[in-house]
């Protein structure tokens, strides 16, 4: 019984292998037919293809405009990123600055100095150091 089952399985496996090969051959043949069909071109005119050139020029213009936009956006985004760079500023430092009436969104070197007058020298150094590390002060 087991031998019979084993031989049946073997035959089925062999048949499946043959089917796989047949499918591969058919796919290859279909590919060849497709290439043969493509090999004949209905009409060729030895004039510069204006439409294609125009399309390429349009694409180039669009790409250049996009590059210019991206450059402009990048230039604008630098200060914004720096402003939002307060993520790296410790919360204690933000609180300390807030107590002194300084917000990280609108920070200027002069304003910081004025705001920190009431702090000790060490505290001022620490605050400025943190601000510089966070990119909020140049």
């Amino acid at each position: 019984m087991k031998d019979e089952l084993g031989s049946t399985v073997e035959r089925l496996a062999a048949a499946a292998g043959l089917l796989e090969q047949a499918v591969e051959r058919l796919a290859q043949r279909q590919n060849d037919f497709a290439l043969d069909a493509e090999a004949s071109i209905g009409r060729i005119v030895a004039t510069v293809e204006r439409q294609r050139e125009a399309e390429l020029e349009e694409k180039l213009a669009a790409a250049e405009a996009q590059i210019a936009e991206l450059k402009a956006a990048a230039a604008h985004s630098v200060p914004a990123e720096v402003t939002h760079g307060r993520k790296t500023l410790p919360a204690s430092m933000v609180n300390l600055l807030a107590k002194q009436g300084v917000t990280v969104d609108a920070m200027e070197a002069g304003a910081v100095d004025a705001a920190l007058v009431s702090l000790s020298v060490e505290q001022r150094i620490a605050v400025k150091s943190q601000l510089m590390q966070a990119g909020l002060l140049g």
């Binding site: 090999a39 004949s40 209905g42 060729i44 005119v45 030895a46 004039t47 510069v48 293809e49 294609r52």
Partner: protein, 208 residues
């Protein structure tokens, strides 16, 4: 001797065929270059007001086009010598046309006829007549030296390998040609010019 006149004489001289028939011959030059020529002889009509003889280089064989021709999906093309030779008969009797702006083909604006064709070296040259009386606006434009070129129109072109960067055309049929600005032609080395009628030259000589 003008180019087309030469073609006609050469063709007939070698084949020995009577007038108003066509012939085809291969010549082997001294440098080993083979030349193919074919012509249809038209009866001579002196002073025909609507026949203005022209000649030009239609294309180059075995040379890649300078730009991608229209219909070639952005590929530059090479017309093989073998394909051009086989297709030479299909050129005879086909029309030349022109388009307003001189930048392309207008197959319905047929302004002349091709009566002879020759492959000499890499040049496929043609000659024939323009319908000068029907298209009086052409003559002034065409006479600007070196400005005008030609462009062929092919049908049923066979491409050896569609995946190649430059398509090689191994078989094709010529269905027409256009006169246009050289800069608008896929082959920049094409040319087109009018032939001076032999009689006009003689008149000038006598006048001196």
């Amino acid at each position: 001797m003008g180019h087309s006149e030469g073609l006609h004489r050469r063709s007939f001289g070698l084949a020995g065929l009577p007038e108003r028939t066509s012939s085809r011959d291969g010549l082997r030059g001294g440098a080993g270059l083979q030349m193919r020529a074919m012509a249809v002889e038209f009866p001579v009509v002196h002073g025909h007001p609507n026949r203005l003889p022209f000649e030009g280089v239609l294309t180059l064989v075995d040379v890649a086009s300078d730009k991608a021709p229209s219909g070639s999906r952005g590929h530059r093309v090479v017309l093989t010598r073998s394909a051009a030779e086989t297709a030479l008969p299909s050129l005879l009797g086909m029309a030349v046309d022109y388009k307003a702006g001189w930048d392309g083909h207008d197959a319905r604006q047929k302004c002349g006829i091709i009566t002879s064709a020759e492959i000499d070296g890499q040049k496929l040259t043609v000659a024939g007549y323009l319908f000068a009386r029907d298209f009086p606006e052409m003559e002034a434009k065409i006479q600007v030296d070196g400005a005008m070129g030609m462009s062929y129109e092919l049908a049923d072109a066979h491409v050896a390998d569609m995946r190649a960067q430059v398509w090689t055309l191994t078989r094709a049929t010529f269905t027409g040609a256009a006169i246009l600005l050289r800069e608008k032609a896929a082959y920049r080395s094409t040319s087109f010019h009018l032939k001076r009628p032999v009689n006009a030259g003689r008149r000038v000589a006598v006048g001196r």
